[in-house]
């Protein structure tokens, strides 16, 4: 479950960074991103990517967790890149929804 959370956070992070780019923002919403929303997407993206590291460390420990983090980033980024042209809306929605659901279920299972 934590592994899936790390993956979804990485995916969400890449999605946000991706939406901060005009090209991909248009791809999803058919219009350019505003200045503010670009800034928000950037901050959210970097935060989510950064957050997935401690989750990986929680699963695998410090040394192996770092190695695994790179693998998680690779998988999340490639998945987004290959999903985007086929289903841009769904790809973006997945980035917003997946970490929320997984975070909720992690919290629910630990209570």
């Amino acid at each position: 479950m934590l592994t899936a959370l790390a993956l979804s956070l990485a995916y969400a992070g890449f999605t946000a960074l991706c939406l901060a780019m005009h090209r991909h923002h248009r791809q999803v919403w058919h219009r350019d991103a505003s200045r503010q929303s670009r800034a928000v997407f950037r901050i959210a993206g970097v935060s989510c990517l950064a957050l997935s590291l401690p989750v990986c460390v929680a699963v695998w420990g410090g040394a192996i967790g770092t190695v695994a983090w790179f693998g998680v980033l690779t998988l999340a980024g490639s998945a987004l890149g290959f999903l985007l042209p086929y289903a841009p809306r769904a790809a973006a929605a997945l980035g917003a929804v997946a970490p929320l659901i997984l975070a909720a279920s992690v919290i629910a299972s630990s209570v």
Partner: protein, 528 residues
């Protein structure tokens, strides 16, 4: 090679990638499957798969060795674990005593030797990965040279990729084939870049003393054995005293070692001169949960059980190498992490494949252009088909041969290996006789068919078919069969895609030779 720095790098990237591309594809693909080397071996010896490892497995193995070779030069026990539940016993005798080498696969839960079909199993692909099954050191030298050129290709590729951040997520499958192949090449190369760099560099580290022996030779004055002992890589086998003696019981030694290693299990046991007064017992830790490929060892006096020496790998040079080595082989990894390694490694394989395809796509003659394609162009295209589609065919044939060759055939393992190479040679010759577009579709379709056939043939030739293994939760065998099916489906999809693209009107050839410059307009033109 002229013009700007970036153009020089583009030239370097193109040609360095091409000259070793086919070899790199083979190295990457066999390396990728080698992450599942033990699982492959278990599948290729279905006779072994149902063993359970009991708590006293090591004593059972020890007793068996006492029985079959009370006196020997050396015993080696590969201790069974969850991934490989069979104890592998190896016996070496002094020259003149026969048989001078003997091996046995022991099921420690029943205490009986298992008669498994003869095969190289996953080791065949594993060794191919770094020595191409070329005897002598030439295979390793060739692979090393290819790895060094791979490093050149990675670094020059990053420099060439001018829009590395802007195109980070850019994949446009609806574009002309050259464009979409380039996108795929870029996205897989960039997303898994840390892995590509790590795996190529650490791959060189694994055989660093072969490629750069000079530092070691100077420091140890050419005395290799002194180096190996100090680096804890090998132990000198003592001479026989020719005075019989009894070995100590093994359990207390194991307890002591596990205690000393903080709970890490014993992975390997070497006994030198068992039954002799000079006997030594060496325990080696198993691949553990640490990244570093530690081989911690304790050497005991075989008759008194006293500790002779320990090699806790703490020197920083050895530790650094251990971490690099460990990162490369990824044995520390749990199933999830192994799967991530596998995916990144597949990405690496695909980067090489797309790079090869791109070289051809960029130089494809314009429709209606006069004259035939040049010899170089046609050779590259044929080798591309014979490698990218042909090597998977050869691997599938290797698996099928394992099931279809009679179990008790002489030289069976060599015939399996031979069928692999024969299939590969045929797939390289075939596209030289067929139009390239047809050859691609035919080989991809054949590969799909062969992979899908593996679980089917398995069901007819063994009792361990998918219906049974899935129901029993035997994930090694079920996982193998399912992977074969998945590979078959993916290859069928690729064959179908290639076929559809070919039958559609030929895409206009993109004459803008400098590919990175051509990206500019693309997205703006498309309202999605």
């Amino acid at each position: 090679m002229k013009g700007s720095f970036r153009q020089s790098m583009a030239w370097l990237h193109t040609w360095s990638g091409l000259v070793v591309g086919w070899l790199l594809f083979a190295i990457f693909l066999t390396g990728t499957v080698s992450f599942f080397r033990h699982e492959i071996t278990l599948w290729m010896q279905p006779e072994l798969s149902q063993a359970v490892v009991p708590a006293n497995a090591i004593s059972v193995a020890f007793d068996e060795l006492q029985k079959i070779a009370p006196k020997a030069r050396r015993w080696l026990i590969d201790v069974p674990d969850d991934r490989d539940p069979i104890a592998h016993l190896y016996i070496w005798r002094d020259p003149g005593e026969l048989p001078d080498f003997q091996r046995e696969e022991l099921n420690t839960s029943t205490g009986e030797a298992v008669a498994a079909r003869s095969t190289y199993g996953g080791d065949f692909l594993f060794y191919f990965h770094f020595d191409l099954n070329v005897p002598s050191i030439w295979g390793r030298l060739i692979v090393g040279a290819a790895a060094i050129i791979m490093l050149v290709a990675i670094v020059s590729g990053v420099i060439t990729h001018r829009r590395i951040f802007k195109d980070f997520f850019t994949f446009r499958p609806w574009k002309a084939s050259q464009r979409s192949w380039l996108d795929a090449h870029n996205i897989l190369g960039v997303m898994a870049l840390p892995f590509h760099l790590m795996i190529t560099y650490t791959g060189l580290i694994t055989l660093m003393f072969l490629y750069m022996p000079w530092g070691r030779d100077v420091a140890y004055d050419g005395d290799q054995q002194a180096f190996l002992s100090e680096a804890a890589l090998s132990t000198v086998i003592p001479a026989a005293a020719n005075v019989p003696d009894r070995l100590v019981p093994i359990e207390p030694l194991i307890e002591m070692a596990v205690d000393r290693w903080g709970g890490d299990a014993v992975g390997r046991i070497d006994v030198y001169r068992p039954g002799d007064a000079n006997a030594l017992i060496e325990l080696t830790s198993s691949d553990s949960a640490a990244i570093a490929f530690h081989r911690r060892k304790i050497l005991f006096d075989g008759n008194s059980g006293e500790v002779v020496s320990t090699t806790d790998n703490t020197q920083w040079a050895a530790e650094t190498r251990g971490v690099m080595y460990g990162l490369h082989i990824g044995r520390f990894s749990d199933p999830v992490l192994r799967f991530l390694y596998f995916l990144s490694s597949i990405a690496g394989t695909a980067v090489v494949a797309t790079g090869l395809v791109l070289w051809v796509a960029k130089r494809r003659p314009k429709p209606g252009a006069s004259g035939k394609a040049g010899f170089g162009y046609r050779t590259v295209e044929a080798l591309n088909v014979g490698t990218v589609a042909g090597l998977p065919i050869a691997i599938a044939v290797f698996f099928l041969a394992n099931r279809l060759l009679p179990v008790d055939l002489a030289a069976r393992a060599d015939l399996e290996a031979g069928s692999f190479f024969l299939a590969w040679i045929v797939t390289i010759l075939h596209p030289m006789l067929r139009p390239a577009a047809r050859a691609w579709i035919e080989q991809l379709a054949l590969a799909a068919l062969l992979f899908a056939a593996v679980p089917v043939v398995n069901a007819f030739t063994t009792s361990r078919h998918l219906g049974l293994t899935l129901a029993q939760g035997d994930w090694v065998l079920a996982g193998f069969d399912l992977s074969m099916l998945t590979t078959g489906v993916i290859l069928a999809w690729v064959a179908w895609r290639v076929g559809r693209k070919r039958s559609a009107a030929p895409a206009p050839y993109d004459s803008r030779a400098n590919t990175s410059a051509a990206v500019q307009t693309s997205m703006e033109q498309r309202e999605c």
